[in-house]
């Protein structure tokens, strides 16, 4: 069962590669949060109840509801529709993403040979999701998309941390969540200011500083 959830999680990032509507991207982010929540419910048994409660709250409340809702509001207020024009082919990013997936799983099987307990599906999928997120940050131009890709990167890392499921003290989990939330909040604030101060919301407008 957890295997299916992880594969679904991987599919979401492929969908993001192909989708051009930013709203679809945000809704997929919410779906990722939900998948992570289900994964915790099904697969994580080693932790004490307090940690499980915290993690479920983090995924269900923050990752699946609060942050996507916040981002959707920003997008609607700024009337941002698409990342790229609908006629631009999204085949290349999909192809590259597929290659990254193959490489990620090869690496996972290689790593599994080191004798440490690591589930290849978790490890391979999270490494692939992280790499694809970084690829999307490099390829895409809109500032809001960069923030969204940062979120998918965080989700990929979250998946990896579930595979370890070690006893990170609650205090530190709380700190990590606070950092993430403040980071998203600040990124959006800066995004809004760039929107106001510059003409456009593309990173190509940021050219004031150079040597």
């Amino acid at each position: 069962m957890s295997g299916i959830l992880i594969v679904l999680f991987g599919t979401t990032i492929l969908y993001i590669c192909a989708a051009s509507r930013i709203e679809a991207f945000v809704k997929t982010l919410a779906l990722q949060g939900l998948l992570l929540f289900l994964l915790i419910m099904i697969d994580v048994h080693e932790l004490n109840w307090l940690n499980i409660a915290f993690l479920s709250l983090e995924t269900l409340l923050m990752k699946a509801i609060v942050i996507p809702y916040f981002l959707l509001r920003v997008i609607r207020r700024n009337e941002i529709g698409r990342e790229v024009a609908p006629d631009v082919s999204q085949l290349y990013p999909l192809q590259i993403a597929s290659i990254i997936f193959i490489a990620g799983f090869l690496m996972a099987y290689w790593a599994a040979g080191t004798g440490m307990v690591v589930q290849p599906l978790y490890f391979g999928m999270s490494i692939s999701v992280m790499m694809v997120s970084l690829l999307l940050i490099v390829r895409r131009k809109r500032i809001i998309t960069h923030i969204l890709c940062y979120m998918t990167l965080e989700n990929g890392i979250f998946l990896l941390s579930l595979s370890v499921a070690n006893e990170m003290p609650l205090l530190i989990n709380l700190g990590v969540l606070l950092d993430l939330f403040v980071a998203i909040y600040l990124l959006v604030i800066f995004f809004n200011m760039i929107q106001e101060m510059y003409d456009g919301n593309n990173i190509d407008v940021l050219t004031e500083l150079k040597d």
């Binding site: 440490m116 690591v118 990896l160 595979s163 205090l171 950092d179 990124l187 101060m197 940021l206 040597d211």
Partner: protein, 481 residues
């Protein structure tokens, strides 16, 4: 108790400042926290050997000699920046509301850096490193120009991605150290031999990329010249003098694990590569530098590279790196604060617009010149000693030939930076911009902090006190214990 105060007082005062929004309260809070930190550093210095033994294994926050070393540097830089801020806030005619925001963020930023230095748990250290990014991004945007917005955006985005990768390193480390089941440095150091080498190496690589981005070493430095040049001068001084160091401490602590797991060869090789790359990049940019604040930023990249080289070369190298970190921070703090005076006097950040500094404002001119000599490493300033020690360390670890490229880069950087500094300092001053009038007057807060820093540097350079030496030796001790 002391550790608790260092976190509680800045938090409470920043809330108070934001609530009252009164100039007097804001400035009082800023200076008060600086005084508290100085008092803490003094208290620890007077009893450090006791603390060193007892503090190591207790709780999430501890002060060992390595932390005390960097804490002292941070405290001095913060105190200087706090005093200079009085001048900065007055000259820029900042409203009480914005002043409250500035002071509150500054206090939280300083608290976050303290967290990085005192954290005894790898993930906790990470939490505070990210917190420093978030708080300082707001300070970089303080002047609200188009360019400072761009700098703040690049800073927060690139560093957040970088630090996220460092977190991957932490997870990977905990995969490899499953049998230890703890991320406290004390446990990791004690049982480093049990960590799987494959995962430890991978964790180190992620950590290096992540924290390296935050330290601003090449090739991960893209944000650094922008952020350091666009931030208000006291903030630039803090970023360069305190923040880079504190993140560097995180890497040093991680290297402690590598040393104990007998993997330091791997770590040292990567440190050397990154270090020399930083020297190369900063030398290349320094030769065609046009903006003097960016010049200081590239010099920071260079000096961070030197710290990396030092930490790759055994005990003597670490020793050199520690001395260098202190000397660089104090000199760079003085340079950045003085660059604020120059910006105020000439109204431009371009090297070619600034001429005859000695004629226009002799005090600023002399401080600028002397601080440059300090950062360039002319004797008796301590950077001379640290670079000399580093070359000795190259020979000690059997890589003496590295001294040749090192010296070459250092000389190129000296000429690049020196050329700009001398052009700015000497010659005939142009007439002042009309909006500033003839009578530009600098208050004592605009040059006293730099003077004190320079005196301190000279004192260290001429005669290193036995107590400082002992602390450095004890701090370098993590390398072989």
């Amino acid at each position: 108790m002391m550790r608790f105060l260092l976190f509680a007082v800045p938090t409470i005062l920043s809330l108070l400042v934001l609530w009252r929004r009164d100039r007097l309260v804001s400035r009082g809070a800023l200076l008060g926290v600086a005084a508290l930190y100085l008092a803490a550093a003094t208290a620890w210095w007077t009893g450090w050997d006791v603390v060193y033994l007892e503090g190591r294994l207790a709780g999430y926050f501890t002060i060992d000699s390595l932390a005390l070393w960097f804490f002292t540097i941070m405290t001095l830089v913060f105190a200087a920046a706090a005093v200079y801020s009085l001048f900065y806030l007055r000259e820029h005619e900042v409203s009480p509301q914005r002043e409250a925001g500035y002071v509150a963020t500054m206090l939280l930023f300083n608290m976050a850096m303290t967290g990085v230095l005192l954290a005894n748990h790898l993930a906790l250290l990470w939490v505070f490193v990210e917190a420093t990014t978030l708080t300082s991004a707001l300070l970089i945007y303080f002047e609200r120009h188009k360019s400072s917005l761009e700098a703040a955006w690049k800073y927060i985005f690139i560093c957040s991605i970088g630090i996220t990768l460092a977190f991957v390193g932490i997870i990977i480390l905990s995969i490899g150290s499953k049998s230890i089941g703890s991320l406290f440095f004390a446990d990791l150091y004690q049982r480093a031999g049990e960590i799987n080498p494959f995962w430890l190496k991978m964790a180190f690589a992620f950590m290096l990329v992540g924290f390296g981005t935050k330290i601003g070493v090449a090739p991960l430095h893209a944000w650094l010249p922008d952020a350091h040049s666009e931030a208000p001068s006291p903030v630039s001084a803090l970023l360069s003098g305190a923040l880079l160091n504190s993140t560097f401490l995180g890497l040093l602590r991680f290297q402690g694990i590598m040393v104990r797991a007998q993997l330091h060869q791997f770590a040292n090789f990567l440190f050397l590569v990154v270090g020399f790359l930083s020297l190369l990049i900063s030398a290349a940019f320094m030769l065609k530098i046009k903006n003097y604040k960016r010049m200081l930023a590239y010099s920071s990249i260079e000096n961070m590279g030197i710290l990396f080289l030092g930490s790759a070369c055994g005990r003597t190298g670490i020793y050199a790196a520690l001395l260098h970190s202190a000397a660089h921070s104090l000199s760079k703090c003085s340079l950045f604060l003085t660059s604020g005076n120059i910006l105020h006097l000439y109204g431009s950040k371009r090297v070619e617009d600034v001429r005859g500094l000695l004629q226009r404002e002799p005090r600023t001119g002399w401080i600028w010149l002397l601080s440059f000599l300090a950062i360039a490493g002319l004797p008796p300033f301590p950077i001379f000693l640290s670079k000399f020690l580093l070359i000795m360390a190259f020979f000690e670890v059997g890589m003496g030939w590295l001294a040749a490229p090192f010296l070459l880069f250092v000389i190129v950087l000296f000429f690049g930076m020196g050329g700009a500094v001398f052009r700015m300092t000497f010659g005939i001053a142009p007439p002042p911009p009309p909006e500033r009038g003839e009578g530009v007057h600098l208050v004592i807060a605009a040059y006293a902090p730099q003077m004190l820093l320079l005196i301190l540097l000279l004192a260290i350079g001429i005669n290193l006190p036995a107590k400082v030496l002992a602390l450095m030796q004890s701090a370098a001790g993590f390398y072989s214990k």
